[in-house]
Every structure is written in structure tokens, then in C-alpha cells.
Amino acid sequence: MSSSALPLAGLSLDPVSDFQQLTAFPFMVNALEAGTAVAIMAGVVGWFMVLRRESFAGHTLSLMAFPGATGALLIGLPAAAGYFVFCGASALVIGLGSSGVRRHRGEESALTGVVQALGLACGFVFLSLYQGVLAGYENLLFGDFLGITRGQVLTLAIVAVLALCGFALVGRPLLFASVDETVARARGVPVRGLALAFLLVLGLAVAATAQITGVLLVFALLVAPAATAQQITCRIGASLVLSVILGVAITWAGLALAYFYSEPVGFYITTVAFTIYVIARVTRAVIDHSTLLRRRPEIAEAHA
């Protein structure tokens, strides 16, 4: 599985030659295209997920890809089908089971936790029922980019386009419901329906992302670009665009590193994402602190 077996010159730090090497094989072109589609979608979905404080639900849905994949293998279906079915169904259960009211979020997280535990248990049962040796199940957990087919690229691109169209349609009411639920409801925004629809899209996005990063590391691509972008700017449009750009950049960097070195792609994506997030977070803290110090004399004056 490691790419070191391939006849490579290695990372040369010459962008042109590196890019030529990166795209020399069709499997790598497939991986880059699939990764780009997934990263764009994850950037937008993740942005709303971070804003809505639904990271726990997102995390649970990402783990649901594990029973999805093992269950699909057990009955002889492609893993991707299992991803979509399990993630979608769990999103429905979490969405329908929660009241959709902010102050009842505690119940929702309890339900989400139960779904998560059940899903993981199912995953391991499926794995043990599967009599043969499940070849490369680390790839399932930590990501594999060598075996992505044209069909998969097409599926992921269609899912991404559908998700983006959905966001273009409901983006504003969803934003309203996410930051100011009470007033949004009073203005006639279907808060409950949007919450359920969002969880479903989140489930689909997770199922798609898991095919690149692996089940355990989906989260890196969903949370890190969005959280980093929100640290950098509080303008809605800029923050969304930045989230997508960061997602694509992190994915390309991760795929390239995995291509030239031997560790799984999920590891590189996670490491790059985490590093960027930490830098943004620390910078934001420093800026906020210095702004506060600069504003303090004005505040003191105004009260005098």
C-alpha cells in the first residue's frame, strides 16, 4: 500500500517537477479530483457545523462510516454504499430524536452519544462476522487514496454539487436559525426542518469525506478548515470562501505528502490541518488581546 514501492524521484521542492510527478499516474489524478470535491463540500458543511456547535453530531456521524463500511463488506456491497446508508440513517435518527430546541441540547448530545456507541459496536460485530481477513482495514480507518475509481470521483462530484446547491438555496435561513434561533422561528423560518436537513447533508458530507481521509480522520477536514477560517475573519462570505480554500489546500498537501512518503493520507491531512488551526488560534488570541489593551483607555474615558 505504501507509495515508496513506486518508481519516484521523491519530493524535489521544485513545484513544476513535483506537480508533474504528482499527476503522472491516473490513480493520483483520481485522488486529487475526489479530494478536491470532498474538500469543497466539507469546507462549507463544516463551516455551518462549527457555527451551529454540532461538532459532536458530526463526529458521531463520521464514526458511523465504520459500521457502514464493514456492514457493506459483510453483505458484499461497495464500502461507499455502506458509508452513505449508515451516515444518512444515523443523521435521521439524531435529527428526529432531538427536539430541535437549543435549550434541550443536553438531551440531543445524550442521544448522539448512544447512537455513536451502538454504531461502533455494530462495526466491530460486522468485522468479526466477516469470516475472511479484512484486507487493509487500516485504510478504512485512516484513509486510502490509491484505489479511487473514476466512478467514485463522479459520485463524489455529484454529491458535492448537490450539497452546494442545497446550501445556496437554504443558506440564509440556515444561518439565521444557527445564530439566532428564537427570532428566526418568530420570523417564520422552519428551524426544526432546517436542523434535520442540515444533519442529513452533514451525514452525506461525512460519508463522502470518509472515502478519502478514512473513518477516524474525517473530522480533520470537516472541523479544521472551518474553525480556522472563523478564527481568521468574522465576515460571513470571506470566512466561507476561506474555509473552502483551506480545505482544498490541506487536502492537496496531505495527498502530496502521502504520495511522496509512506504514512497514510489521513495522518498528513490531520497534521497539516491541526498546524494551521493552532497558528490561526494563537494569532487570533494575540490580536484580540492587543485590541483589548488598545481599547481600554477609551472605555475608561467614556465612563468618566
Binding site: L169, P173, L175, V179, D180, V183, A184, Q231, S239, D288
Partner: protein
Amino acid sequence: MNITSAPPTTDRRIDVALPGAAGQTEAVAWLEGAQAQIAGRAVWSEVRLEIGAGEFTAILGPNGSGKTTLLRVLLGELPLAAGRASVLGRDPGAAKGQIGYLPQRRHFDAGIRIRGVDLVRLGLDGARWGLPIRALGRDRVREAIELVCASEYATRPIGRLSGGEQQRLLIAQALVTDPRVLILDEPLDSLDLPNQTAVSALLARICKQQGVTVLLVAHDVNPLLSYLDRVVYFGAGRAAVGTPREVITAGTLSRLYGVPIEVLTTADGRLFVAGLPEAPAHHSGRHEHDEQ
């Protein structure tokens, strides 16, 4: 200092006549013989109320006396069990587009990285589907923010603003659609005293300068008292309606709250209500909500 104090009377029916000025303008809110019920229990009955255009009215009373219930009736969320009601000359709920509504104070998490100005804009177009068209309504958003004097901090993340600053931006959000009526549920709740006074003055200015009829639920009448045109006091299943001087008397308030209350007149002729049971203001609304 002139102190009037009267023992609570046994009279259950409290009725204070409307001021003579009523009728010269179109009634913005009007109730007659109104009864509201929640879960089959009457919250208040025989309420007669008329609020004129451009008036500043406070709805007051003990916890659970039906203050928020009146707002729900006026917003068309709760039909009357008896009697009649109209808002802006139509059935309650039919005039919703002309009402700016500010629910009980919402808390914005410090980590929410959304600018105040975007929050105000959501009041204008947040309920619309499809891609936003940025240019539309930009002036309206700026005007609303200038009206509440929040331009200085409107582009900062909402989560990092103080309670008073957040409340101003939320008022701008309710005003951005240019409503004829502004209905606020406990807008002074959980603000410190200087901010209570400042927000009261701001609402009074919007009422007088913009001609917006302001109707708010409050727990403590004192920060508002000098600005009010009319008060609606709920208590013991009834309502007392009138100008502050008519309704805010020791006798009426003691009867409504069921405890002795004093009304003081300061040297410059301002009223001050003393002796109200120490109500934790930040819990008040929640109790009412739970009952509903």
C-alpha cells in the same frame, strides 16, 4: 417628599379609565372583554386596553401574571378565550409584517464569530431563501445601526460585545424592517443599571423620533417611569391600564401584587416604586414561559 400609602383593599375588580386623549389616533392595539387561557386556566380576564400610535407602553406585574401572554395574544400566537382583540386595525397575527419583535434576551456565546452588522441584516433578509444579494438593504441596515448608536462596534463579533451593546444591535435587528410597532419581551432583563437606563432612553427616543409604537414587558418600572405614556399592570387575574400617574398608586399596586407597596414622589415630581418583592429579574420570564 410626599409618600402615599394605602392598605390593600378587598376590591377584586381594578379598572382605571383610559385617558381622554384616546380615540384621537388609530388604536395600534385594542382589547375588549379579553380573556386569555393557558392549558384551560384563565391567566387574565375582562381586560380592556387601547394603545394609540406612537405611545410608549410598559406591561408590568408579578411573575406568572400574564405579561408575556399578552404579547403572544398581540402577536397572534395565542387566540383569546373570550372577548375581542385587534392590532393595527386587523386581527392579531395579520399585521405581523409591521411588527418588530424582540424576544427575551438571547445569549450569544463568546466564540460566535459573526459580526453585529450581519446579525442586523439577518433581521431584514434572514428568512428569505436563495442566494443573498448584498447590495439590497445595505442602507437600511446602516440606518438601523445608527439609530441605536451602535456603529462603533457593529463590525465586531457579536460574542465579544457587552450585554448592553448586544441588546442595542438586537433592537436594530428588530427595527431594520421599519416596523410601525416594536414589541419587546424583557429588554432590560440581565442588564446592569446604567445599561437599563440607557436602553430605556434609547427606546423612548425611537418611540418619539421615529413614531414607532413601543410595547415592552418589564420587571422593574423605575428605569422606564419617566418615559412611559401608559402602563398595563397585571395581577390577580386582572389588568389595570392607564397613565403612570393613574395606575402607579400605592393602593392599586398593593392590590395587584398582594403585598404592601409604596409609591414615592421625588422632589422633582418623579415617581418611584418601592417595596416590590425582590424578584430575580433574570428568572422572571422563564417562569412565565414554563407555565405556558
